[in-house]
Symmetry: D2
């Protein structure tokens, strides 16, 4: 209710600050019987962690996750899964200066005004470091959704600053530090190097998808699948826009183009991005997000301090010149958490539907090629 | 939990179908002592209602609202406010044909698969008619926020199909059927007339803002003000994208440009759209949404029926050629509901903060020109 | 969140005041495909309604329920079910006098202080009349639980004032105005007549049970089945105590007596009341509640008015001399709502468990006689 | 939603198992600016912890709490407060035998059936050890409520098995191992010694109160203060009954006795237990609970194993012969958590009420002596 729990049936409660002793989360509602170990989670954490290339922050955090509860003899028991990540590299001295100042583009000003107090060490609670526990929780959701429903969650970089990145293949994504779906990232490297030398930063556009999502997930009127995805994505640090399917292109499309035709063997296009009326269609979920340029830059910025006096802020320390670069596994995780939530919700209310639906098709002597609800 | 309640502290539970006996909502959590009558609500409902120009559906619904509870002698009592709108113009004969077919771009296919049953009359529950109770609830929120905090919510059309609409003045918005902020809408009228003759439809882009929002609203990590706005907007029928502040432009901006500078007398720009770290900055909230073209068009479309047989769908009946036209008051209402929720949440947790914050400023002998939390 | 919604997955939002135009509720989360008409609901409402004997209030309300939404061609669609009951017998003149006074034992004083305003007509929102929509919602839950799981919910009077009522048979319950499980109620009638003549009122003890509840319902640590039952029961107007199973007798029992022995064919006793560790055991749920004497009595009482001046309060009007008499169907309904909620919750998280559980038993070549989870 | 979070605005998410590496909780929604250190929490943990007398389990756990987040320079920041208690004395060998058996009176049978898997070490998740994090969270709530509103929470033993304990003075409570409000506990010691020698256990009755609670807390219709107290108390391990105020005595009371008279200087009695219509009256909250006898006893009990075969269960290990003895600080903590939640909720919706209420009194030229809402 104070905003630190994501989800309701698969509820992830996040805690910690950038430079406190530890960060972590508690997952409540995980189905029992899922095989789970730290190794199942560590992989995605390693994809997100800092210090892996010269294009991201040089803070060196191993981000090793420990399971404190909810798993017995290698299987989830249905009780809360507490995940702990200790903070090991906390150079608080880098941040001491800014305790009295508000960095432009950061949450310093708003936290201080909202709470009357803030933890300034490394951005405290507003640090993107707090996405790590969500990546960990997302790994648990991904595993259950993969094993139970065969779903796959993938993301890639679609644009860095001015450079749009064409989609060549998912196979390239793990082979470069940008999560770019292209074989050759030389241009991206040069672009980032120039930016870093200029003491500036840039934004990014990320695409994230889910395949294997069955028809029927989403709870209208309000808890629509697309609404919950928008909520999840806009809640990621630095995100300023979210699109589903055709997104902004919908504005200039005609109705004769936008509405995806349906055939006995499936849809002919996916302008809907896999969602109609807030409910999944069985097609791939297609989501795109815009990420603003990093606010922590060494170029001096005009601001005020806690006494409302003008100051010039120069942010030293170790920062990502494009926070979007590390956002891909985060966006995947958040999408998986949304789908997980809705898979459980759907089963709660509509767990009996399959029979009726199958009967209806049987009566007609025909089977639909589009995916069918299969939650019983 | 099944998705028909919006908000938690100011919780609006929506019910009804397009062609059932009535639609409505129950508002739980309204502060007591607010002067409220049907007249306070009817104004916004009239702005949204159909049949007001040749550019929107000719369905003729007066959309007269009745207050069933929660108000005594003209004031809210703090108990649930039930609002009822009877459906009066239900030409169900127009829709009988489509009970067995799935209209492309509509929720027919997904509702049928999710629930195993659907009310096909006028789109049933998935009809945009169900936004009317939200406009009514939004009017209650707007009234409290205006009287208690001086907030103003406004929206306007920014683009219809291919025609971008410059912002001239809020004063023009009520004077044309498009909610366009321009004096001359002849081009828009011609564009819509041509579209209607072609049996086609188009999308739209809507801008919605809030002024007077104090600093401090929003609950990170997840229930950020921008995340909740994205949730609210993406949940409106036909919305496919949401931007906050600079939105997609953030991708190509540099950090030296995007981060809004702060001075003792306020911010120098508003790329943030009034939100930093998920918390309001005291600047105007700036939101833009993309609305897809109407899916109900008379041009024939390729689809299937409930037996998975191919069919050609032609949607007759009375439909808006651009559903975006009537979306402006809806978007305003949803924004007001989000802000209302967060105003109450903030007061719950941080109701004591002002004293501390004011003391801190007094100690320094300086008063901040930027808006301060004032929830005590 | 402001307390007018009961349940989360099967969420019932209640609205209305005793003398407003209507009362009702919205049920969100009902599984689709359930046959439902007004007649399925009216029966329980008739059991609860006033004016049926000389031992209850003579207010004459038909309490006719209308379904406004969520049902199409006689079946639930999975969308919100709005139920409306119009108030027809509103003799507000009986209550005008007390608008400025606080009746002892009533909520007048607390509502006025909490909200700064209250609807005094017939107790307004605090009237037991608001239990009618819960009885209606409970009837929907009972129907689904009966059809899907074979559950039966029953209640009876266990004590009126000083008269303890032995349990003879459920068959007697519908045959007397007290819901007493005995053939001869002459003593009860005489007791009530004397009480009414004395201008006084008395309390009651009600027993309510559920049979056919499968093992496995309840969500520890907090949302235990017994905790949620206690919440539901204590929330009924005038309830002051709740017991599960052996209840207060547990205090003086020994461990060797209290813990119910288990055999391959079932439990040997039910001190647990059907719940262990917050989860149903498969035995009958056994609940007892204490209801305080009616606070509205014609004997003069000492109190104050809104100006803190001493007054003598005499409550005229039409009141039940023992509100417990009409509480039996209410308690049944609330128990059914709790079980319904947990049936859906269990299916959400543990919908896959049966297979594992059945396999484990198969491996052992033995089938448990105690009920098994069967939610797939 | 899976039941491991208590509260909504002051939300405590509990995790851990009796013999896992650690137990703990995350508190979300604590007001910022509260002075808080481990020492503020440890006191109540020490009152609850095992091993303090021969009358409780000899498991020796220091139950040392660590604050992992949410506190900066000794003050709460408004972000989640994670509390960690490491398990140090985990003699799992004591419990190995029972992994395949269901102990009568325990949650073994229900957990195994619900989840298809359970952690049998020390009762796993169903152990009363999981009340420790609630005592810790309750200490935080108590501190805020004491500093902000002057509230005091106290509990004492009212009955152990057959021995009713008269109330002499709160001063005696900390001076004996039973939390008994009497000077001489020799009879209790003898009773417990005999019980332990007999290999048996007994139940208990606990009284818990709150003083200083202002009028106005509680959210009818459902989230009534008494309903939430019943929920909290019944959710404590081994509790089988809950009373508010006169409780079961209400059944035999007359209306002329039960309804507490009101005078300009306050109420004349407290049968209501401090709550009318679900809202606090300003009087002391008075709650009583019944706790069943410990189920873990060395006397042999009849049961079955996971293969539904009959077994004889003898529970060795270290157990409390009367779990009620250590329940007093737990009940206090749960009551404090309920009141804390409602203090924040009330401020959210009714934060403006005081002015209106005060004005009304000023107009009348009289001030009420009964406590007034003071949440602004």
């Amino acid at each position: 209710m104070s905003g630190n729990t994501f989800g309701t049936l698969f509820a992830v409660t996040n805690f910690g600050e950038s430079h406190g002793p530890a960060i972590g989360c508690v997952i409540d509602g995980c189905p029992p019987g899922l095989s789970l170990s730290e190794a199942d989670i560590q992989g995605d954490l390693d994809r997100r962690r800092p210090g892996t290339s010269r294009h991201v922050t040089q803070r060196n955090e191993p981000d090793t996750v420990k399971i404190l509860s909810g798993v017995y003899e290698g299987k989830t028991t249905g009780t809360p899964i507490a995940l702990l990540i200790e903070n090991t590299d906390q150079r608080s001295k880098d941040y001491g200066q800014i305790a009295q100042q508000f960095r432009p583009g950061h949450a310093d000003f708003t936290y201080w005004n909202k709470y009357g107090i803030r933890d300034p060490r490394g951005g405290g609670r507003s640090s993107a470091r707090l996405t790590a526990p969500m990546v960990a929780a997302g790994a648990v959701a991904k595993k259950w959704l993969a094993e139970r429903h065969g779903m796959v969650f993938r993301g890639c970089m679609a644009q860095i600053g001015d450079i749009a990145i064409p989609f060549e293949s998912w196979d390239h994504v793990p082979n470069n530090p940008f999560f770019a779906p292209v074989a050759d990232v030389a241009a991206l490297e040069a672009y980032m190097d120039a930016l870093r030398k200029a003491g500036d930063s840039c934004g990014a556009r990320i695409r994230v998808t889910a395949t294997g999502v069955p028809v029927g997930l989403g709870e209208p009127l309000f808890d629509k699948l697309d609404a919950d995805i928008a909520f999840a994505m806009m809640g990621i640090n630095a995100v300023k826009a979210v699109e589903i399917g055709a997104g902004w292109n919908s504005v200039t499309q005609r109705g004769t183009t936008h509405g995806d035709s349906i055939t006995p063997t499936g849809f002919l296009s996916n302008n809907a991005g896999g969602i109609l009326g807030g409910i999944s269609t069985g097609q791939d979920l297609e989501v795109t997000i815009a990420i603003k340029p990093t606010s922590s830059i060494i170029s001096p910025r005009q601001s005020i301090d806690v006494n409302n006096q003008p100051v010039e802020v120069v942010t030293k320390g170790r920062h990502d010149p494009c926070v979007g670069i590390r956002a891909t596994p985060i966006a995947e995780a958040m999408l998986a958490l949304v789908v997980m939530e809705h898979a459980l919700r759907h089963r709660a209310q509509c767990g009996d539907v399959q029979a009726a639906s199958a009967r209806s098709r049987d009566d007609a002597g025909a089977a639909a090629a589009v995916p069918q609800a299969s939650f019983l």
